[in-house]
Symmetry: C2
Subunit: 157 residues, 2 copies
Amino acid sequence: MRHTISILVENKFGVLARVTGLFSGRGFNIDSLNVAPTHVAALSRITAVLMGDEAALNLAIKQLRKLVNVVEVTDFKDGQAVQRELVLVKVKASAKSRSEVMQICEIFRTKIVNVDHKDVIVELVGDCAKVSAFLNLLEPFGIIEIARTGTLALKRA
Amino acid sequence: MRHTISILVENKFGVLARVTGLFSGRGFNIDSLNVAPTHVAALSRITAVLMGDEAALNLAIKQLRKLVNVVEVTDFKDGQAVQRELVLVKVKASAKSRSEVMQICEIFRTKIVNVDHKDVIVELVGDCAKVSAFLNLLEPFGIIEIARTGTLALKRA
């Protein structure tokens, strides 16, 4: 099963290493993870997408809550949270193919953030399904490089 | 000094824990970090923003390159890379203040992705300076929660 987990932590030395260590120690595969400061100077938020068995995950969350410097752990159920991802894609785009690439970008409401003779860098924000659909359409042109933030989530209510 | 580093790694068990462990073991403060799969099934990309001394960082990068499952490490100099961040902000917005919040959102070309009676969730993409300016303007309304992906970077040339 795929789980999106939000972990509020104190900005203390080594806390990220402890959190990722706990997951790897319990055999969890981290699909994606991101961490950055919040508006409260002393706190950072980690959003992680994990693959694994439900019971084992619940146990891991219990252990997470006991870790030093972990303030809050939320396991988002479907639809509870707004989920978005940011992707930067460098795709081949010669003078010939550029207009076709730009057309796809326009349909997906993406933004071209860099243009070179042979390629463009596109910025896309969306949920999993949108990102997959977009990358599938770009594949035939030749994807050179890609960077993804992984899922970012915030509770609706 | 602030450094943005891109690390291409094999999707092997525990590699993220090893990378974060190396940084914390050497006393580096990770300001932000994100990791997600790339278009090549076997590879993930980590983008990390680190604060620390130049010489110590160069040493850490050398050690990173020697880690099992690390394929490539790039230390981006200023302007070499497109750098963007995705932010979700839940901000107080009553019937009274909502139009003012929406005005600020429009100026920053952000997107309102959720509306409730007392708050809205806003999605913003930008560089460090844009994100800071936006959050400063929202502060007086009352920021309830925030989630940031941290800097994502892709080489221009």
